[in-house]
């Protein structure tokens, strides 16, 4: 790594982020469980899933959610992605001196609401208040343990017998947050997709759908998920570009700023690798939920370019879909 300082690009969920994690943290903490590099660690003979996540978002309250809802969804979704039912969470908050008590209560109340959706409870916590300027308003960490309902879900086992689905249209959270940012004067009705995915995952497991891998497409978006899967499972993922679901508002923001919806963050959208024969069954289950009523198949698996994700156009051209790099910045021309 050439940089002597940490840059924002190293936290983007993309290439620089992966480099930071592998060269600093994996190197120091090296062990078999960590190296599986899943959304949540699988421990205790495959019976428990264990995951942690820290949350910082600006603005704290955004269309479709707030940092509190995000903090519960984020960790519960990571557990759900390993086929687990979230049970116990811890909650640590670091609050900047001067932060509004009203806003804190609002945040905690949306955490409570989201815990109920997941039927999980917070069993331990910690609070720190730091001098003004030491953090940006409030940072929240949650750590969670869940009971695995279906063993063997792993992004290392995807094969040509699988197809790839997405649970809904892509990029809403990233686009909504970007539009709400200072300096981007966009008016839009767009809402973040921020939501818990526990119920959908439970329903999939209960209906007997043969799930190979699940991952929620947070920072780095679906591009990051697919690229990680292609590398972890030694496969080529061939995405049919025309089938990718993107809401009109998200598309508009992408067109204006030169983004790709596939690279934008989601907070309630997951990617599924399931056995081919179960495609219809899985879609039926997902379509029962309002948050995944437009779930759709987007890709097949091949061996053509191992470790790569290829986008196929409807007029016969192809290109690689890369892991996003750098900060999310608008293009000039």
């Amino acid at each position: 790594m050439i940089n002597k300082q940490i840059t924002l690009a190293m936290g983007n969920g993309g290439e620089e982020n992966n480099e930071l994690i592998s060269k600093v943290f994996y190197k120091a903490f090296k062990n078999d469980i960590l190296e599986k590099s899943e959304d949540a660690a699988v421990i205790h003979d495959g019976e428990l899933a264990f995951s942690t996540d820290s949350f910082t978002v600006s603005p704290l309250f955004f269309p479709g959610g707030d940092i509190g809802k995000l903090a519960i969804c984020g960790t519960c979704n990571d557990l759900a992605m390993m086929g687990a039912k979230p049970k116990y969470l811890t909650c640590s908050v670091i609050i900047e001196e001067g932060f509004s008590m009203d806003e804190l209560e609002k945040i905690v109340s949306s955490m409570k609401k989201e815990l109920e959706v997941n039927e999980a409870i917070v069993v331990s916590g910690d609070t720190k208040v730091v001098p003004r300027g030491s953090v940006d308003k409030i940072f929240i960490n949650t750590t969670g343990i869940g009971e695995i309902q279906k063993k063997g879900i792993s992004s290392n086992n995807i094969s040509q017998d699988d197809v790839i689905l997405v649970s809904r249209d892509l990029g809403r959270h990233g686009a909504a947050i970007f539009a709400a940012r200072e300096g981007i004067n966009l008016t839009t009705d767009l809402q973040s997709d921020c939501a818990s995915l526990t119920l959908q995952v439970q329903a999939l497991i209960e209906s007997g759908v043969k799930v190979t891998a699940l991952r929620d497409a947070t920072r780095g978006g679906v591009s990051s998920v697919l690229n990680e899967w292609a590398k972890q499972s030694n496969i080529c993922i061939e995405v049919d570009e025309d089938t990718i679901p993107i809401a009109e508002e998200v598309y508009g923001i992408c067109e204006m700023l030169g983004f790709e919806a596939l690279n934008l963050a989601n907070e309630g959208t997951f990617v599924l690798a399931i056995k081919k024969d179960d495609e219809a069954k899985a879609l039926n289950v997902l379509h029962r939920f309002p948050n995944s009523s437009n779930a759709v198949k987007i890709a097949n698996i091949s061996k053509e370019y191992i470790g790569k994700v290829v986008l196929l156009s409807s007029y016969g051209t192809k290109r690689f879909l890369e892991t996003p790099t750098g900060e999310l910045l608008p293009r000039i021309c």
Partner: protein, 374 residues
Amino acid sequence: MRELQLKDLYDGFRNSEVIEAYAKLIAEDAKKLKTTINIMEVCGGHTHSIMKYGLAQLMPKNINFIHGPGCPVCIMPKERIDHAYVLAMQEDVILVTLGDMIKVPGSNGSLQDARAKGADVRFAYSPFDTLKIAKENLDKRIIFFAIGFETTTPMTAALLDAVIKREIKNIFFHINHVTVPEAMVALISDEDCSIDAFLGPSHVSVISGSKIYEEFPRDFYKPVVVSGFEPVDVMQSISMIVKQFLEKRCELEVEYKRAVNREGNLKAQKLNERYFEKAQNFRWRGLGDIPRSGLMLREKYDAYNAEVIYKDILPSKEIDDHKLCICGDILKGKANPPECSIFGTSCKPITPIGSCMVSSEGACAAYYKYGNLL
């Protein structure tokens, strides 16, 4: 009546049947040609479209793309990025620039690195966001680091116009605007240059008109088609170029008729004229000095010119391109990226050495990413 949807605006220009029909037409016409045509798309926006939509894959063997120098951050020489870095590191300065500029490495690092070291660097979607930043930070000097071709120049001029009219005292300018035709002339003046025709950047012509390209068919025998950025635009423009060769014509044509006329945006041109004049020289990364290809603030606006105000601390030494870098040859169509000895080894998108690797719109970056699909 139904409200107009965004989709209605682009759908036709991305229609796969139309793209396929043009691919067939180009292939049929190209078959009748005895020679190869090397077409330079000057603008990074076109390179982006060609890559994004895989259009090079639809071309017959005798139609080649040469990716041009039209990406404003790629062509910025290191010493000017160093200017931005030095300015950003001043205690009382907030440096405002357009998005892509943040990532480009100078000799001390990029603006992203400066920010990690404590500098206040902001990116603006519109130069006018600078006004708000200035109002909220009256104790700071706000420097707008202006980059871009003819397309973004009027926005800088309009910002300066607002600064003067509203008597704002804390906004200053570092001007790095460059112009397209001079660079095109520099490229084709090299006797080994193998460019046969140009796709003209259309957004440049929205401002400057199509007239700026008239010299190319007339004086240099190179056809130009001013093209839009959607895949159907590019395919149609390529077809128009091939037809010119087939019918032995050499003309300036406009494909992007929905926004470009001969004269361009006269109001914008007038605003540019008021505040800017041609600099004697601008050094382009990869191409070197090109006479009269850059703009600078007129002398009477020295009070707003960060290059004048900070001249004692701005590095003045020119930094040459790496001696193994062959970006100049790549831009002239004389070499392909893989022929460069540092391509993909020491020169990569994360650690670019030459201009063509700097942004995703550069030829080397495109080869690096999409190599086995091109």
